[in-house]
């Protein structure tokens, strides 16, 4: 074979493989939508499960995931923004900063089940919070830190240096500069990071297994110290632990979960695109 033909063949192969990789992504999404859309109706979204979860809806699990997502935001938001401000504005080029960055890389790589163990050992048992929304939110909050910190730091760094120089030269203090000049411009990027982190947290199962998730709990939690059902764990339960579970119900649950996660990603992307378009520097 001439090398020109070889070139054509291999470039063709590369294109083919890329197509083979991408097509199943589309198929997976279409497949879940196709099989799940029929199960979704008002009752499915607003009723509690009945008859050993084989009938009724997913409302407690859906709301549980909403509560957990808010809880995660409350835990993760202030800490992650502060850490990002530190890295972008205060940290010097020294050993400590390198250690902090290494810690973030490593936090991002810790398996989610290990976060679950940490949450069990630290929040549920040691701090005696019990299996509760607050323990689950703390666990998920820690898990989302690396994503949110990295995105927020990037957003802060993307604010032009001249903004800071001007503000400082007008006599503003360093914190005033950050508070009034840097953060407002970085905010859309920071919010993008938070939503991406929350999207990930909403879909996680392993970290909530032993920290908050209830197998079956038709009533809603009364306080943050109660257990709650959660959508990802509910999907696990009804697909593997409940015999004779109607498939449509399982696909419906998977679809709702997928929709929640994707809509959060979509919102984040829209904010990011808008921000890039409106940026005037």
């Amino acid at each position: 074979m001439t090398r020109q033909n070889m070139n054509k063949l291999m470039i063709g192969m590369v294109s083919l493989v890329a197509t083979i990789v991408v097509i199943p992504i589309v198929l997976v999404i279409i497949y879940v939508v196709y099989n799940g859309i029929g199960a979704i109706n008002w009752e499915f979204l607003t009723a509690a499960p009945r008859n050993g979860m084989r009938e009724g809806g997913i409302m407690p699990a859906l709301l549980g995931t909403v509560f957990l997502t808010f809880g995660t935001a409350i835990v993760s938001f202030p800490l992650a923004i502060a850490a990002a401000i530190y890295l972008a504005e205060y940290a010097g080029d020294n050993m400590l900063t390198r250690w902090v960055r290494l810690a973030i890389v490593n936090l991002a790589g810790i398996p989610s089940i290990v976060y679950g163990l940490f949450g069990l050992g630290a929040f549920v048992l040691f701090w005696n919070l019990g299996t509760s929304i607050i323990a689950g939110s703390l666990t998920l909050g820690v898990l989302t830190l690396p994503v949110v910190i990295s995105t927020a730091e990037e957003a802060i760094l993307s604010v032009p240096q001249s903004f800071r120089t001007v503000s400082l030269s007008l006599g503003a203090s360093r914190w005033q500069t950050i508070r009034h000049q840097v953060l407002p411009h970085a905010m859309p990027g920071i919010i993008t990071g938070i939503i991406l982190g929350l999207g990930r947290a909403a879909g996680e199962t392993a970290p909530i297994l032993f920290t908050v998730a209830a197998f079956y709990l038709p009533e809603l939690p009364k306080s943050i110290f109660d257990q709650t059902m959660a959508l990802p764990y509910h999907l696990y339960v009804i697909s593997t632990q409940v015999p004779d579970m109607p498939l449509s119900n399982q696909y419906g649950t998977a679809l709702v979960l997928l929709m929640i996660v994707f809509s959060m990603t979509l919102v984040a992307t829209v904010i990011r695109t808008n921000m890039r378009r409106r940026r005037e520097w």
Binding site: V17, A18, Y31, Y86, P146, L168, G203, T205, L235, L258
Partner: protein
């Protein structure tokens, strides 16, 4: 930004009063510094709590038992080898499948695809990264496993089923990091190769890919890290049989039980403080140490690569 304005401002404009430094500002700046090092504290806490709950297992169970080939907690057999073997078989399978696919896709995105295709494909791959593992596990359970059984395997719940799902889940990681690595190869390399008459494919295969080698190694490592820690999908599709299969191609088509799945499946049923309980934490320590070393080495490689190619994308 390192200069401290409170000190330098008066020397620049001596007549103006220095900015009054509110006490609240002092508090806020200190809180920010504390938050800055919080990630270090948190990773320390995670390890400390794993040790606190898991160390008793290492003291109270003899090493011979821990290194045994049977995981059967009811009879106090805590051999970790089958779980390690399970994790490694599934992970190796996943990387063997995902690496060629991921690298090729990265080559396509970085070197071959026209701009509009890149803009279409990259968000799709990001979407794949966003699909919760439980949803992929569910699809593996209701769709993929029956297919594999129909293909002739005695059961659909095998290491291979897990590897397929894991390969898919680690693709976004492998693709994006390999793509960064390819992007960091200077344009002059490509121009030089094309100028002396190499075809596009020869340029890619003989020049660009070898030059991006270290980045690709990082992609493999992080792919492994991603795969070895995955829990729910693996638990649902690998059959959860704790045994050490005989070496050979057959080991991929048997049910296995991974470390992550063992923790997830058994933690709910053990008594707090029991030997079984701390052994599950001990497995957590092993997982933590494996992923910690992979990420530390990869992190160091990324650092050295960034400094070698100044202006590179990594």
């Amino acid at each position: 930004m390192i200069v401290n304005m409170e000190q330098s401002a008066p020397t620049v404009a001596p007549k103006r009063k220095p900015v009054p430094r509110h006490w609240g500002e002092w508090v806020i700046e200190n809180l920010i510094q504390l938050a800055g090092v919080s990630t270090l504290i948190i990773i320390g806490l995670i390890f400390a709590f794993l040790l606190r709950e898991g160390l008793p297992a290492f003291f109270e169970i003899s090493p011979a038992t821990l290194l045994g080939v049977r995981w059967y907690p009811i009879e106090e057999m805590y051999g970790l080898l089958p779980l390690l073997a399970g994790s490694f078989i599934v992970t190796i399978g996943a990387v063997v499948i995902a690496l060629p696919l991921g690298l090729t896709t990265a080559i396509y995105l970085g070197e071959v695809a026209p701009r509009w295709q890149r803009e279409l494909l990259k968000p799709l791959i990001e979407m794949l990264a966003g699909i919760p593992s439980i949803v992929l596990g569910f699809l593996g359970w209701v769709v993929l496993a029956p297919l594999i059984q129909k293909a002739g395997a005695p059961t659909g719940l095998t290491a291979f089923t897990g590897s397929l799902i894991l390969a898919y889940m680690s693709l976004p990681t492998i693709i994006s990091i390999s793509e960064d690595a390819l992007y960091a190869v200077p344009k002059e390399y490509r121009d030089g190769a094309l100028a002396i008459g190499a075809t596009k494919w020869q340029t890619i295969w003989r020049v660009v890919v070898p030059a991006a080698r270290s980045g690709i190694v990082i992609a493999i490592m992080l792919g492994i890290g991603r795969a070895i820690g995955e829990t729910m999908a693996v638990m649902m599709v690998t059959g959860n049989a704790a045994n050490i299969p005989a070496l050979g191609i057959g080991m991929f088509f048997q049910p296995v039980r991974t470390m992550t799945a063992t923790i997830a499946a058994e933690m709910g049923e053990v008594a707090k403080g029991s030997l079984h309980y701390s052994t599950l934490f001990a497995i957590g320590i092993v997982l933590f140490l494996i992923t910690f070393s992979i990420n530390s080495i990869a992190g160091r490689l990324v650092g050295s690569q960034g400094s070698r190619r100044s202006g590179g994308q990594l």
